[in-house]
């Protein structure tokens, strides 16, 4: 068990790192997008919303294929990589972060957008009559009121990144410690008939998924109670 635990824990640690970094980036990038989607009256905003939501419908292989081309030496990724003497962003941890951010975006943006929309104009108008600047109102009124949305977005974004498989398989290259995340490690174990290891990881994932769904349900219940 000891000989095996190192090999098993590495993908677990890597997956948690990937999911955590992705979630933080998504909260930073996703919040302004969600705010704009919730508040803007631009006629083309649903177009933007649809683009953000694309990964919900697209097979991961579509994103994986595009990323392989875009991150590679003939695309912008290769140009970026050449800054530090690299050749491609595929097969790197950073490449996985790029893929995960795109792939998990709707799972973070959607709940935050809904939370912002649910606040409505009223609290912000009240804040304005109390002479709060729009910026101040955003930080002291909108963000605290939308907290359940942020929580839900963070949990879903994290969980969805943990569960990512198709994209990582296509752009990862299965490098231990860099791109061999949990889902790929399980695939690998199954392909190579190492079922004991596959079982340990798969069982862990099942427990994790259960915990995530339960947490989400509890958050929703709490929100419903607050709103009632």
């Amino acid at each position: 068990m000891d000989g095996l635990s190192g090999e098993i824990w590495q993908p677990v640690r890597l997956t948690i790192e990937l999911a955590a970094i992705t979630t933080v980036i998504l909260l930073i990038v996703g919040t302004p997008i969600a705010w704009w989607l919730a508040r803007s009256k631009a006629w083309w905003k649903e177009g933007v919303a649809s683009i953000v939501a694309l990964p919900l419908v697209l097979p991961p292989t579509v994103l994986g294929f595009y990323l392989l081309v875009v991150l590679g030496p003939d695309g912008p990724g290769g140009l970026l990589a050449s800054l530090w003497g690299g050749r491609t962003i595929a097969f790197t941890f950073q490449g996985l972060v790029v893929g995960s951010v795109l792939y998990s975006m709707p799972f973070v943006v959607q709940p935050i957008r809904n939370a912002f929309a649910a606040i409505g104009d009223r609290p912000l108008e009240v804040a304005a009559t109390l002479r709060a600047s729009p910026r101040r109102a955003f930080w002291t009124v909108a963000i605290p009121l939308a907290r359940p949305g942020f929580l839900a977005g963070a949990v879903l974004g994290f969980a969805h990144t943990v569960g990512e498989f198709g994209i990582v398989l296509m752009i990862g290259g299965n490098i231990p410690g860099k791109t061999k995340v949990l889902s790929v490690a399980i695939f690998d174990y199954v392909e190579t008939s190492q079922w004991r290891e596959a079982n340990i990881l798969a069982g862990g994932m099942a427990v994790f998924a259960f915990a995530v769904i339960l947490t989400m349900t509890l958050i929703e219940k709490r929100v419903a109670r607050i709103n009632a």
């Binding site: 590679g72 491609t88 097969f91 290259g173």
Partner: protein, 253 residues
Amino acid sequence: MKPTTILRLAGAVAFLCLAEANAFAAQTNVAVAANFTDAAKEIAAVFHQKTGHEAVLSFGSSGQFYSQIMQDAPFQIFLSADNERPKKLVDDGLGVAESRFTYAVGKLVLWSKTPDLVKGEETLKTASFAKLSICNPVAAPYGAAAVEAMKSLKVYDTLQPKFVEGANITQAFQFVQTGNAELGFVALSQLTGNDSGSRWLVPQRLYTPILQEAVLLKKGASNEAATAFITFLKGPEARAIIEKYGYEVGEQS
């Protein structure tokens, strides 16, 4: 749901069932090791022309198919990229013993899209590249052969940090084709009709011959199309196609 919608759905289901039943009479499911993809497609097309039977092909790594067949996957024939897995399947009682035979001997190539990058074994020894693509050495025989060849040349340890691994040989090829890896070990068959870049046919002395064996699975033992496909695969037409794709064929049976 509206009644008309239900009717329409029922119609669609009935249609699909009929289509399934119709096709079933002369159809066989074949699991094909990824390196044999193009050759298998061509063989299946000629097979269909000559016999009217249809071979439905699935492509993947040999290891993946082995695991799936062990779990009762509905394959009737397995074209592996090695001879160990078909043998194990026979030992496990899932394959028909006397049906095993070598349908092709695979050739390993080191390939790059960049002209002049691959010159020979010195390319591996100087190692002036960032990423070398191989396929999973545990699941895919071409990956195992690549590892063996690098070990024979005593470059495995220095090159290992540069590996990127495809789940099967098709993916290893695609990493090189998209330029994400400068070079990689692929199957000669994948370069059929492709003169681009630079390549080195890895000498046979550096790795154990890749004896690709076919086996009729118990699920296909009584299927007319399956037995016909095995027979066809041994015949001159199939052998000509296999040779065209850069394989050697075993002795005439």
